[in-house]
């Protein structure tokens, strides 16, 4: 009896997971069409903060959303779309997402890769020896968190009304 119910629960679980996965796959495909058109990201008001931040950022003329948020090596591209796709589809299926959106660990690594892709030249000296610990060595975003969107600091993502008074002198 108990086992039977457990099986049922498992089945339902697996079912939904597959569902989401497929959805994610489809979504991931759609996602790739958005590539390199930031305004497409901004279709979603959920992305407005980042979009308006990006407009003002040092990278406005240098990098689009996906220059930073999709990997620059073939292997990863597929994975990240699935991952972002999952979160995005998760949002569509549930309609729920946090008030303050947090980047996933995985996507943070993607961004790190992106920095290095473009800034290999200037960072080669500091980034040369990364035998210790994680392969990517130190995280650029520990100090340059705000380059993509917003004038806030590495430590802080100050809300709009504080950013105005917190700009670097």
């Amino acid at each position: 009896m108990y086992l039977a119910r457990l099986k049922l629960v498992l089945l339902v679980l697996v079912g939904t997971l597959i569902g989401i996965a497929c959805y994610a796959f489809v979504y991931a495909k759609g996602y790739s069409y958005l590539v390199n058109d930031p305004s497409a990201c901004a279709n979603c008001h959920a992305m407005n903060e980042q979009y308006s931040g990006w407009i003002k950022s040092s990278h406005h003329s240098a990098a689009t959303c996906n220059d930073c948020h999709t990997p620059h090596n073939f292997l990863g591209k597929y994975a990240v779309k699935a991952s972002n796709g999952f979160f995005h589809s998760f949002y569509f299926t549930t309609g729920k997402y946090p008030d303050t959106i947090q980047i996933t660990k995985f996507d943070r690594e993607v961004v790190e890769g992106a920095c290095r892709h473009c800034h290999a030249a200037i960072t080669q000296a500091i980034d040369g020896n990364n035998v210790h610990g994680t392969a990517e060595g130190i995280h650029c975003t520990r100090c340059h968190l705000s380059v993509g969107h917003s004038e806030s600091s590495a430590v802080l993502q100050l809300p709009q009304h504080l950013r105005r008074i917190h700009e670097r002198q």
Binding site: I122, A125, I126, V131, H132, E136, C143, Q169
Partner: protein, 450 residues
């Protein structure tokens, strides 16, 4: 993995000279890395800040001490320190630290030499890798033991340079490495106390951790463990001042007897690493090098500023990378923290002076029990004050913890006086009122999600 292969490709290694573990002269390393070398040579500069930096004090060189410039004497700035360390080397001569370039000379010529210190002193004041290898025939640990057992004068003959490239870097690939057996052993015992067995720092530490560990080889409190004066970091129970006192008490360590009071004393020394660990910066994964060796652009590259000094002398590259407030504001914040620390530090020193004076005055009047208690309070209260005062950031590295230590030390000193004057037994917080957990755990990158 892909990334590392990329690295190999763009590693800018102009092998002008071949480097290996026999090359200790930084000038030779400098041929391969001229920019880092130039910055490294800059540690001879002396410029002060409100509480830190370094101030050049001219002096007329003598036969015994050829230095024409020294750092300011802390003893002259605050005479209470002489009473605090009466009977011990530090009451003779104790100055402000200055740049790495001076470490060997300042140790060689300090008047503390009159107390003929052991060779173990050299571990943190000279470039040691070649010395360890030479004395241990390739076995650094053996070499370390040899140095510990020598007299300072004897050991000193081997030293040619202050800390140099070879002490922090692997000559093959320039990656950071820990070369000091005392730290390798110390961090091992610490990790063990946290349930991590056989921790090998050079194998398991992340790169970000290494950016602090290389400093932790010297900027820590230590003692010379009897019988053979082995340089030891008292970390077996954790890094809080309470953990460290517990370790020293367990070992019945007595570094000197205070002449005014007869108390069995212990001395704290520059625990920057331990205190930094208690602060929110460490907790956020901010390493010593992030603030004291910030990146600087040179040519088309960004490199680490090897002119290690006060970050308040380079706020724009240090603090402002992470904090987008003006330089004046960031300086003001650091100084507000330091001022607040300095105020309570003075209250604590007053309490300590009162205790020492009180014991001295009552040596013959008080009962042996009373004296024993008062001396115990002095041993512990004074160590706590010493610990956080000989930490060199004037409270900045861990503002809240620094004041907590002072507050608890003040209590100890005053209780010592009360013991002498027949005050009642101190009461204790009733059980059931929750106690705050121990803070011994090593903070740092792994604790954060970056």
């Amino acid at each position: 993995n892909i990334f590392e292969r990329k690295q190999e490709a763009r590693n800018p290694f102009y092998r002008v000279v071949e480097l290996n573990d026999t090359v200790d002269d930084p000038a030779v390393w400098g041929k391969n890395f001229p920019m880092q070398y130039d910055l490294y040579m800059g540690t001879t500069d002396m410029q002060r800040t409100k509480y830190g930096g370094s101030e050049a004090e001219p002096r007329t060189p003598t036969q015994a001490d050829p230095r024409s410039v020294v750092a300011r004497s802390k003893l002259e700035q605050d005479p209470r320190l002489k009473t605090m360390w009466a009977g011990y080397a530090f009451s003779k001569d104790y100055r402000e630290r200055r740049g790495h370039a001076y470490m060997l000379a300042d140790q060689t010529f300090t008047e503390r030499q009159q107390f003929n210190p052991p060779g173990a002193c050299l571990n943190c004041h000279a470039s040691m890798v070649t010395i360890y290898n030479q004395l241990g025939n390739g076995d650094r640990n053996k070499g370390f033991q040899a140095i510990n057992h020598m007299k300072y004068a004897e050991a000193r003959q081997y030293a040619k340079h202050p800390i140099a490239c070879i002490d922090c870097h692997d000559p093959q690939n320039m990656q950071l490495r820990v070369t000091r057996p005392a730290f390798i052993e110390g961090i091992k015992t610490l990790k063990a106390s946290q349930g991590v067995a056989d921790y090998d720092v050079n194998r398991y530490a992340t790169r970000q951790e290494m950016r602090s560990y290389v400093c932790g080889q010297c900027h820590v409190t230590y003692y010379f463990k009897p019988p053979d004066k082995t340089l030891t970091f008292p970390w077996t129970k954790g890094l809080t001042v309470e953990n460290i006192i517990a370790h020293l008490d367990e070992g019945k360590i007595k570094e000197w007897e205070h002449p005014d009071t007869g108390a069995a004393m212990i001395k704290a020394r520059h625990p920057e690493f331990e205190v930094w660990n208690m602060g929110v910066h460490a907790r956020s994964g901010v390493a010593c090098a992030d603030c004291h060796m910030p990146y600087t652009r040179m040519g088309g590259l960004k490199i680490s500023d090897h002119h290690v000094n006060s970050p308040l002398l380079k706020i724009n590259r240090s603090c402002q990378t992470c904090h987008h407030f003006s330089e004046e504001e960031l300086k003001a914040r650091a100084e507000e923290i330091q001022d607040r620390f300095f105020t309570l530090r003075n209250t604590a020193l007053d309490a300590l002076m009162d205790l020492i004076g009180d014991i001295k005055a009552n040596k013959n009047k008080a009962t042996p029990e009373q004296l024993a208690k008062a001396r115990d309070y002095q041993r512990h209260g004074q160590y706590m004050i010493d610990f956080i005062m000989s930490e060199n950031s004037m409270g900045f590295h861990a503002p809240q913890e620094a004041e907590r230590i002072l507050g608890s030390a003040i209590n100890q000193c005053r209780l010592g006086q009360l013991a002498l004057h027949g005050g009642p037994e101190p009461s204790h917080t009733p059980a059931g009122i929750a106690e705050a957990p121990d803070k011994g755990a090593l903070a740092g990158p792994e604790k954060t999600n970056h």
